[in-house]
Symmetry: C2
Subunit: 489 residues, 2 copies
């Protein structure tokens, strides 16, 4: 797979307007497939993200990130806009607050004409929004309404209230949750342009991970901190992508820290003989990667580390060998569980008297991997569309309830494939004391791993017509490849 | 001035508990000076910052930053806490939400005992808050209430409502705005520990600016972007301080971008012959620096650039020569204006027929420096306490209305000293068309500077007993020093 280069300056120049026109057209097509009675002259009315400040003061909280649905459909990078999308021809109108005299002096601002040219759309002063929408004489004004299935948080709804004399427009505002669901569903299947962008981000992420691996091996004797490792990666991707924001809080956990799934302190010193788990992704053009490597601090796996690592790598690869359209993601999770259980049984950490199928049925793998196999990806790290009213619902069984989607795979979906084995004493003790599963564990053997930490191997995969491809290709993954990379300074 | 080293690992290890005890004691002392009738057994009840998520999804918005007042008084770095401060003995109790079973597996969490030890205070499960506060039998429960004078935003108030059977506690909650004002006032005068920390952050900031200057000179021929310059600095300070957040959005503006006061795009290519204005500060231990350098992209000032630069540097230095306790900050602003107006008149940009005093009276400097001379600094870049009910009120005159404080200087205040000259065509044309001031401008001469951009020179200064010291000492400031630094790769 070659590295696409057309996105190298995307953080400086933005994506093309056709990228987002394509998103809108695919959304409208999907909408028409679900809603046969979509009225003519109907519009989607969107509110973009607003500037946020740090508590009471006047410092902006962080470099502005656009709300994901607004971004997906418009590509607009600025805060405080509203938009309507014509659901017949996919055209966009933007309603833009105009700068005050003071802002004209202080800020880099563009005229409505410049913004219209930049986004290839109509632009209006925000104060003219009600009369402009009224002029369209819409039959229906849809707004997004729904709940993110990962967070349980409500989707950002356009809460604009039309004032008199345009207040009759409020009567045709439609909050049907299906509209949001169809948008979320559209987001799960990527366009070729989205795929190319994700490939590019993944390739830079691979380079950043390699940079981190090499610098760890070079510097670990100098009392470096997990935070340094975070900086090796972020320094690299920030230089290469020009991006300022993280896609998520990076996890760099050495030794036992690797067993804290959402470990973000990253304040401990790396020690010779430890593994370090690095969950570090990049962001560009509003899309993200999510990649984890686990490597030995000193560049050389111990036999014990290699044994656990190879089980996780096997799970990661078997998922990639089996993921294809029509396969259930739950089935892939269970496949990874089986590989992990088999491996741990062979290593003597699980009793040999029981079958792996029994252990799967009794949800034993949960005690070593208390998270889902992976998740949809795109604009959000945990991307929208995991659970919708027209897709399989969340499984209630232990561990399976962590899965961020139970969907059947479709071409052009992008997901993370991230099995792991962690030794979390708190969780394992719960297993030892649970009468349903305690019989499966070889407790003394497992306790030998209490200071081990964890191993996770996370690639981003693209579902194709007949299988999947690994967007994270090129990252050293076998223990031999990692050792070679870390000794090649 | 030597570089203090005791704060090198502050982002990893936190500040000492005595740092914050000192803050509390000084606050209580100030409180007692203002409020003679402070009831015995009274408490300040505080709500800390809460976790924020990126719109509807489950990604945290950014690395958590504690609310400034909560941080100042408690030093607590974690989200979602409440606190009471005993206004007699300055002791703290923390009320802490306890992790769910899932969080115990996913997060790095500490027991109430561990947190009590870490912060040297009492700790309680948040669910026990009402009975614990009831047990204290308080006479008065103060909460913060007020408005930030920079942003106009309300201060984060503790909005906790005591449930039955403890609801009579709601009757003794006191929202007196004076309490917040006294806290903000206390924050304006730094302790020795705060000063040492600010010195350290400033010294690393100086190193980061020098790094940026050298790298610009080394790389400007390779089509580098303003964003690269931002990365030179942030890469350095992130490595050195281990800090993840910016104190504010960095400004790197080359050429005309230097005249956009809050220019944050930083997406243009540096060009030979331009100046670049770099407003880049650092953050560590919850405190910040705010420093601006303006340097020639190619390492060598033109005569035209040097002339403007030297005026600004003169203004910056004259402020430092005159700032001392008892002097009004407004007076310092006017001093900087006079230096700038005199310089521009000597250069032939302002008519020689008028006196500088006339120009000051008619607010002419505003058209070249439409911002205040500087602001209080500390935890917030624009720190609290600029305007309070017991300090001088905001001046209404053009330009002076931008000042973030009009206070009389006091020992241990820390402020930025940041005069500038900018050529903002939009603003200058307003001046040319304003009948009150148009007579002062030599329009043709000024128009020769429309592509010049701007120069700002910003140091952080500490008011001492009889003057001030420059915390940003060591940064190359004269044109000779800058040229020498940029040629010394």
């Amino acid at each position: 797979m070659s590295t696409p280069n057309s996105y190298e300056r995307v953080e400086l120049e933005g994506l093309s307007t056709s990228f987002f026109l394509n998103n809108r057209q695919r959304f409208i097509k999907n909408l028409k497939e679900h809603i046969v009675s979509l009225p003519e002259n109907s519009y989607l009315f969107l509110m973009g993200g607003k500037d946020l400040y740090r508590y009471d003061n006047d410092d902006e909280l962080f470099y502005f990130i656009q709300e994901s649905n607004f971004y997906y459909l418009t590509g607009v990078l600025e805060a405080n806009y509203y938009a309507t999308i014509n659901l017949t021809d996919a055209s966009v109108s933007l309603y833009i607050p105009q700068p005050t005299e003071r802002e004209k002096i202080f800020l880099h601002w563009e005229t409505l004409e410049q913004i219209a040219e930049k986004y290839k759309c109509q632009t209006f002063d925000l104060v003219k929004l009600p009369q402009e929408i009224n002029r369209l004489n819409p039959k229906k004004i849809y707004v997004l309404n729904g709940t993110n299935s990962d967070s349980g948080n409500k989707v950002l709804t356009c809460d604009y209230v039309f004032p008199a004399p345009y207040d009759k427009l409020n009567d045709i505002v439609d909050h049907d949750e299906l509209i949001y669901e169809i948008l979320a569903d559209t987001r799960t299947r990527k366009s070729q342009e989205e795929i190319d962008l994700l490939k590019y981000i993944n390739q830079v992420t691979v380079e950043g991970h390699v940079e981190a691996m090499k610098k760890i091996a070079k510097n670990y004797k100098n009392k470096i901190i997990e935070r340094d490792v975070e900086n090796y990666f972020f320094g690299y991707t920030r230089r290469k992508l020009y991006s300022r924001n993280h896609p998520y809080e990076h996890i760099c956990g050495c030794g036992v820290d690797g067993a804290t799934l959402h470990y973000i302190n990253n304040d401990q010193e790396l020690k010779d003989g430890q593994l370090i788990l690095m969950d570090m992704g990049a962001l560009a053009g509003g899309y993200v990667s999510d990649v984890t490597s686990t490597v030995p601090v000193n560049g050389k796996f111990t036999e014990k580390q290699k044994q656990i690592y190879d089980i996780v790598l096997d799970a990661n690869k078997q998922v990639q060998n089996n993921a294809k359209p029509g396969v259930s993601w739950t089935e892939m999770h269970l496949l990874a569980e089986k590989v992990i259980l088999t491996g741990l049984q062979n290593l003597g950490l699980l009793q040999k008297d029981y079958s792996v199928d029994d252990m799967v049925k009794d949800r034993v793998a949960y005690y070593f991997m208390p998270h889902g196999l992976g998740h949809l990806m795109g604009i959000d790290v945990h991307d929208a569309g995991g659970y919708l009213s027209f897709t399989p619902e969340r499984n209630k069984e232990k561990g399976l309830d962590c899965l961020r989607t139970a969907r059947y795979l479709e071409p052009n979906m992008v997901l993370s494939d991230e099995p792991g084995i962690y030794f979390i004493p708190y969780l394992l003790e719960k297993g030892f004391n649970d009468e349903k599963v305690s019989k499966y564990f070889v407790q003394d053997k497992i306790k030998e791993y209490y200071d081990f930490g964890g191993v996770r191997i996370e690639d981003d995969i693209l579902i194709t017509d007949d299988g999947c491809v690994n967007l994270t290709e090129g990252l050293p993954r076998t223990t031999e490849e990692i050792e070679k990379t870390m000794s090649s300074n």
